[in-house]
Amino acid sequence: MPDNKSSIDILTESLLSKAKKNDILTDSGVTSEHIKRIISILKDEQFSEDNRKNSKILIDKILDEIVEGQNES
């Protein structure tokens, strides 16, 4: 085994890396914490058919939070 990183670790790293390099996201106040929260929602909702609807709502809330944060800054 070359390393012990799991799939979720790898995709999280990839998403964080791309988000960090994205000027629009960084200028909009999107933080690593926001990205991790979205990943966590999608991971938790992965096997719950009912809750798949919730993931959109929960992500939407995070997006609103980011926009509000940008307005306040």
Binding site: S7, I8, V30, I39, Q46, F47, V67
Partner: protein, 689 residues
């Protein structure tokens, strides 16, 4: 997650509960948590393996039918071939309850899980699943609290759908290999995607797409609303311009008023310091104003008197004229009386003549007949007397001339008036009072003027004049300010009204509009990076699984001189590649190793920490590969439970080779008259004391 202890109560072949329950302790010394349970076929290895499935998910697949067919073992039954979960002997003894307890470690906490089924109270003998009542609790042993949603908690540790990658049956390994190879189990491929967490990316792209579309719809609405509001924009700008202008004027005027009040304040301060002079000047002003007012009133009285005087002679003559008018009235009344008497006498004579002539009375119609001479003489005498009286009256009724009398009466009536000389006298008295007041006020004025010098009076006069001027100016400016404030309100009202028609945007984008634009921008970028990572992640995971499984396979296979690696296609079709670069079908033993290699890679990559629990792990493998596989598994950092059949791994050899890797090894034995009861016998014990 690591399992520390398994307790079975009346579970399948394992009879007994409470003190007689079956306990498998895995709390090994030095952190050893691996387990081997040896058992011959039908002794109860699978039942033990299934106890963990039951504990976690509350149901047990019929062994050979897999995880997806939805067929599960019955909870109760009286016959062995039905494979009920409740021990048949207990059932026969009317002990209708069974349970599995697990003690496990997850994160930094230890938990106790108890899942059980017991016959419902009103059921004497349960014969169907619905006759049993389920119970499931998980308790945190660190703080003795119960987990509120135990099923959800378990799914967070290992989703049931992925359990087949961690709990599997060696007998199905070859089938796994074929499924990978032939690309016909779409569901399994989907689960591989789940194990590799692809839904986090796929669902993420989907959700972000949906959120983007939703935000786009909202943005369109804002754009439409904004275009509608454009028609009001010109009017709004016009009134807004006026409002801004008047705002500026009002603001400037506020400053002007402040400045004027400052100046007034300075003047007042000077006047206060020069109080006596100022007081005298103030009095002078007051007296002068009073005199002016009084003179005005006097003039007014004089005008009134001048208006009233022409009628004063009438007022004087009226009493005498009234006497004359009374006399004239008497004369006129007399003449009218005489006229009425003449008429009456003439009527009387007519009636008397009718009597004489024997005609009917002109008034009553009566006829007097056979009048005597005496009576006739009397009538004649009366007629003559009446005629004489008429002649006299004719003389007096026109003396003096009635026309003259009437004209005279009218002339005298025109002279008379109701004006009273008292009113005129009152006006004159008031006039005299005012003139007296003027004189006394002038005296006071003279005294006040004597109090200040001419020079001082000049300075005071100057400041008082300045004060008056400033006060008037402030009044004027404040008046202008009030007027402008009314205009300001009007403009505000108009702009507000237009603003409402434009949805509060004033032609600009609303805050909500701007927010949705920001959200769209962020959502799009997030969606793009999610999509980007999704495209690459799938390939990266395939590559890692391929690399990892190739390493494991090459470690385990006894054909490392022939094979070079495993190849995994994007659709997870798997092949063994020879050193010559060709595909090789491989034997069933090699296929089983491929399956192990893939399962190991997938479970390692999943990030899920759960023991590998393998029933009949050596099926399809020859002895060399079994030993190699077990050796590999026990040397990974994961917890491994192996339930080998006697042919796969003899207990003595297993204990010798791998006993030191385990917390304990056990062997399943059979007991009872018919050999239907299973029980566990401990072998190697590296347990915590």
């Amino acid at each position: 997650m690591q399992i520390l202890k398994i307790t079975l109560n009346n579970w399948q072949g394992y009879y007994g509960s409470g003190k007689k329950s079956t306990i498998i302790d895995v709390r090994g010394m030095s952190g050893k948590r691996n387990l081997i349970v040896y058992g011959q076929n039908t002794h109860g290895k699978t039942a033990l393996w299934q106890s963990i499935q039951y504990a976690f998910y509350g149901r047990v697949n019929k062994r050979k039918t897999g995880w997806e067919d939805g067929k599960y073992k019955p909870l109760v039954g009286s016959e062995t071939h039905l494979e009920p979960l409740l021990n048949i002997r207990a059932y026969e003894e009317k002990d209708f309850s069974f349970s599995v307890e697990l003690e496990f470690e997850h994160g930094d906490h230890r938990y106790q899980l108890i899942r059980s089924h017991v016959a419902k109270k009103d059921i004497d003998i349960p014969r169907q699943d619905r006759h049993m009542r389920a119970s499931f609790v998980i308790r945190n042993l660190e703080n003795s609290s119960f987990i509120p949603e135990p099923e959800k908690f378990i799914q967070s540790i290992l989703p049931e759908r992925l359990a087949q990658f961690f709990m599997f049956d060696g007998e199905r390994l070859d089938a796994y290999r074929k499924l990978f190879e032939e690309d016909r189990d779409i569901k399994l491929k989907e689960y591989i995607g789940h194990v590799l967490r692809m839904p986090v990316l796929v669902d993420g792209v989907y959700d972000l797409d949906k959120l983007f579309s939703s935000a786009k719809q909202k943005e369109k609405k804002f754009i439409v609303d904004r275009s509608k509001s454009a028609e009001f924009l010109n009017d709004y700008n016009l009134w807004k311009g006026k409002k801004d202008e008047i705002d500026e004027v009002i603001k400037q005027r506020e400053l002007d008023i402040l400045q004027l009040k400052d100046e007034l304040s300075d003047v007042d301060a000077w006047l206060n310091e020069n109080d006596s002079g100022a007081e005298a000047m103030a009095k002078i002003d007051i007296f002068e104003e009073q005199i002016e007012d009084l003179e005005g009133e006097v003039e007014s009285f004089k005008i009134q008197m001048r208006r009233e005087l022409p009628n004063s002679w009438r007022a004087i003559l009226t009493p005498r004229v009234n006497v004359r008018l009374e006399m004239l009235g008497t004369e006129i009344e007399r003449q009218e009386q005489e006229n009425r008497e003449i008429g009456s006498l003439e009527t009387s004579n007519l009636a008397l003549n009718n009597q004489l002539d024997g005609n009917p009375c002109s008034t009553c119609g009566h006829i007097h007949q056979n009048l005597s001479l005496k009576e006739k003489d009397k009538i004649h005498a009366q007629i003559i007397e009446n005629i004489n009286r008429i002649e006299t009256l004719e003389q007096t009724r026109i003396d003096p001339n009635p026309t003259y009398l009437r004209k005279r009466q009218e002339s005298l009536q025109r002279i008379t008036t109701d004006i009273n000389l008292n009113g005129l006298i009152k006006i004159q008295e008031d006039l005299l009072k005012k003139q007296s007041k003027i004189r006394s006020t002038k005296q006071l004025l003279k005294k006040a003027m004597e109090k200040i010098t001419s020079e001082a009076r000049g300075r005071v006069q100057q400041f008082l004049s300045e004060k008056t001027k400033l006060t008037k100016e402030i009044g004027r400016v404040e008046g202008d300010q009030d007027a402008d404030k009314k205009l300001q309100q009007e403009y505000e009202s108009k702009t507000r009204s237009l603003l409402e028609k434009m949805g509060g945007s004033a032609g600009k984008k609303t805050r909500a509009h701007l927010n949705i634009e920001k959200k769209l921008k962020i959502t799009k970028e997030l969606r793009d990076i999610w999509e980007d990572v999704r495209e690459h992640h799938s390939e990266a995971m395939r590559s890692k699984v391929e690399e990892h499984s190739s390493d494991v396979f090459m470690d385990l296979t006894n054909m490392s001189s022939t094979y070079s690696r495993l190849s995994i296609k994007p659709n997870f079709e798997i092949s063994i590649i020879t050193k010559k670069g060709k595909r090789d079908a491989g034997s069933s033993g090699q296929s089983a190793l491929v399956a192990y290699s893939i399962l190991d890679a997938l479970t390692q990559m999943s990030g899920i920490h759960f023991p590998l629990i393998i029933d009949t792990p050596g099926r399809s493998l020859d002895d060399d590969h079994v030993m190699g596989l077990f050796s590999y598994l026990f040397n990974t950092d994961r917890q491994v439970f192996l339930f080998p059949e006697g042919k796969e791994l003899k207990p003595d050899i297993g204990d010798e080779k791998f006993g030191s890797n385990c917390a304990a090894t056990y062997e399943i034995k059979k007991s009872g008259d018919d050999g239907s009861d299973s029980y566990i016998e401990g072998r190697i014990k590296n347990l915590e004391t």
